[in-house]
């Protein structure tokens, strides 16, 4: 019997992934790790106590005879980050520790969450970035820096430990009913900043489609190791903001830095606030490989997904950071 461990179970993503796994692999045993209280949030998921070190983690994996690990515990992905240093430690050092523990314990597959933004936004990035496109060469900030570091580490790590399958899912910004993500945080704030004269194309991913992709990556036998996962269509940034029920605040480029400083909630800045490149140029990923090899196909269109997000973030109120726990 397969045992699948999901980290980051206190995120909505973890809950949806568990639900998708219940459907995709009903015979598998699901265990979860979370940073919140260790109460059962989803049926059929057994919550474990958080190990304190890498060795404890390896022992835990061996004891529970875990076959597959799905790593969703990325600080800043499902909650705003207050302490940047702590987030960096959790993401990069935590990710490295997790992979080391998985290899030591003989886990067969690790599925890691990443972001389509790692391709970077620049005029020389193709309109649809395929998985072979190299990672961004400009120095990214915040959460994006963590993603790029993790991916670079995994790329080298893979060569040295060929017995473990490490699958990376580069997800577009997550949206859906009540989903907090860096992208939905940006789209639903009262006056999202945009640059005058630029209309980049944006891509989103509905959380249910993301969950199905993770479930397939965990259970199927794909050939490739990296997949782009996103909804089919793209819209312009201003249209995305309009779909989320907000009006963009257009500022000229030279004024951008000053305008950024005036924003409330600066301490939990996401890449969409800081990195003006994403407000100028498109960063859109090609999803053909996930369709072909995982048999995955997005069910939610971008308009419906953003309308759902808007419904949970009525005008004048910020998107709630900790959504109510839901038992699905």
């Amino acid at each position: 019997m397969k045992t699948i461990l999901i980290t980051g179970m206190d995120s909505l993503t973890g809950i949806y992934v568990a639900h998708a796994l219940n459907a995709a692999a009903p015979s598998a045993r699901l265990v979860g790790l979370g940073r919140g209280a260790a109460d059962t949030l989803v049926e059929h998921v057994e919550m474990l106590s958080t190990p304190r070190s890498g060795y404890e983690f390896a022992d835990l994996l061996k004891k529970e005879r875990v076959n597959v690990v799905i790593h969703l515990d990325i600080a800043g992905e499902y909650q705003p980050v207050l302490n940047r240093e702590q987030a960096l430690q959790q993401n990069i050092l935590g990710g490295m520790t997790l992979l080391g523990a998985c290899v030591t314990a003989g886990v067969q597959r690790v599925v890691v969450q990443s972001s389509t933004l790692v391709y970077g936004a620049s005029p020389s990035v193709p309109l649809f970035a395929s998985e072979q496109q190299p990672l961004t060469r400009s120095r990214p900030s915040g959460l994006l820096y963590d993603y790029v570091e993790i991916e670079t580490f995994i790329a080298n790590f893979r060569n040295r430990h060929p017995s473990t399958d490490i699958v990376v899912l580069r997800c577009a910004g997550l949206v859906g009913a009540g989903v907090w993500s860096p992208l939905s945080h940006y789209l639903t704030q009262p006056l999202p900043l945009t640059l005058v004269g630029f209309q980049p194309r944006v891509q989103v991913l509905h959380i249910e489609d993301a969950a199905v992709a993770f479930a397939l990556a965990a259970t199927k036998e794909p050939v490739s190791q990296v997949f782009n996962v996103a909804a089919e269509r793209v819209v312009t940034l201003s249209r995305a903001i309009a779909l989320a029920g907000r009006q963009p605040a257009q500022v000229p480029e030279f004024f951008f830095d000053a305008a950024r400083r005036l924003l409330p909630g600066r301490e939990s800045m996401t890449v969409w606030h800081q990195d003006r490149d994403f407000l100028k140029y498109s960063c859109v990923a090609d999803i053909q490989r996930a369709r072909r090899e995982l048999g995955w196909s997005p069910q939610h269109g971008i308009e419906d997904a953003l309308h759902e997000t808007a419904a949970y973030a009525p005008k004048g109120k910020r998107l709630q950071e900790k959504t109510q726990r839901r038992v699905i």
């Binding site: 020389s124 004269g197 819209v235």
Partner: protein, 371 residues
């Protein structure tokens, strides 16, 4: 001043949207074209120009609501639009165009805010339809483009158009696309590849993309061709557009042949295109390199009217153009594996360049005057 009875049969009104236009403007245009002494080949420049202006006003009318149309007809009736020698004709045309532009500002504002639908590559179909009458005006009236060889373009399926580049600003790309839309029996859309540096400019990059342009990267071109689109590229690039006037019509270096590799990889036929007339629209006498560096532009053109006359210097000269589509060069026979064979790539690139240069020289020899 009065309407003269038509001498002989009136020329047929242009095909396409003519059926939607109000009867009055059609009659106005036919009346202008049928002044005594007017025959198709002997049209005076002014008559041709005023007919073109009337057509532009009429085509814009197609997109307007009935009250707006009534207002425009009102303006036109207040002036003597039959006689283009009367200054009242010109003030009438100006007022009508200004009114139409003001009414379309709402549409433009929506565009500026960005809440429009795009296709996966960023093209805004509605914007393309709105700009079409203006491009048609430039095509038929301002530059009087004559086209030949449009049967060389496939009715369906992919093809890579390769053209010489000139004219400081890429008007030639717009005119090639207009030519294909107007003259090809299937009215196909051409996707132009523009230098990806233009995406760094506010407004320019967005406008180029929403009109169907795509940054000129190999991945983008390959993807478009695999979608069976017509793609137009200008291998001379900045070297072509930034040519000095004394070097006009001498094709610059065609580079490393990336466009040939894209065609080989996708098996698309290469259609060489020769554009004559675009070199003289902004005769570039010099290049102020220090100013170019200061503004971060690839070149800073010095022409007889720009930058001295400011924005007026940006109006292109109304030269006479011809666009020739040459015999296509099939690439399927070489197979996708020759994409990485430099010998095949350079051989094909040289063939394309020679074909364009010879056609340009032939058209230049036939040309009787620049304007």
């Amino acid at each position: 001043m009065s309407d003269s009875p038509p001498t002989g049969s009136p020329p047929a009104p242009p095909a396409g949207g003519a059926s939607n236009r109000p009867q009055d403007s059609q009659e106005l245009e036919i009346a202008v074209l049928n002044r005594p002494g007017y025959r198709r080949k002997e049209v005076s420049t002014t008559a041709h120009f005023s007919a073109g202006l009337l057509r532009l006003i009429a085509e814009n009318l197609e997109r307007m609501t009935p009250p707006q149309m009534a207002r425009v007809m009102d303006i036109l009736q207040q002036h003597d639009m039959n006689n283009f020698l009367d200054p009242s004709f010109w003030s009438g045309a100006r007022k009508a165009l200004e009114y139409q532009l003001r009414e379309q500002l709402g549409l433009l504002q929506r565009r500026l805010l960005g809440t429009y639908e795009i296709d996966p590559y960023g093209m805004d179909q509605e914007m393309v339809e709105v700009v079409r009458p203006f491009l048609r005006f430039m095509y038929r009236t301002w530059w009087r483009v004559s086209v030949e060889g449009q049967e060389h373009l496939p009715a369906t399926g992919r093809a890579l158009l390769v053209s010489n580049h000139s004219g400081v600003i890429p008007w030639d790309g717009a005119m090639i696309a207009t030519a294909v839309y107007e003259e090809h029996r299937e009215s196909r859309i051409v996707r132009n590849l523009f230098l990806h540096w233009f995406s760094t400019l506010p407004f320019v990059g967005t406008t180029l993309s929403s009109l169907g342009g795509v940054p000129g990267l190999p991945d983008n071109a390959t993807r478009l061709l695999e979608d069976d689109e017509l793609v137009c590229t200008f291998p001379e690039g900045v070297k072509g557009v930034g040519k000095l006037f004394r070097d006009r019509y001498q094709l610059a270096r065609f580079g490393r042949g990336g466009y040939v590799q894209t065609a080989l990889r996708t098996g698309s036929p290469i259609v060489p295109v020769a554009v004559v007339g675009a070199e003289e629209i902004y005769p570039m006498l010099g290049n102020a390199e220090s100013l170019a560096r200061l503004f971060g532009m690839p070149y800073f053109p010095i022409t007889p009217i720009f930058p001295w006359l400011g924005p007026v210097g940006a109006i292109p000269l109304p030269t006479q153009w011809s666009i020739s589509f040459c015999t296509p060069i099939p690439t399927a026979e070489y197979g996708p594996e020759s994409t990485d064979d430099p010998l095949v790539v350079f051989m094909l690139s040289e063939r394309v360049r020679t074909s364009i240069q010879e056609t340009v020289n032939a058209r230049l020899a036939e040309r009787r005057s620049v304007f």
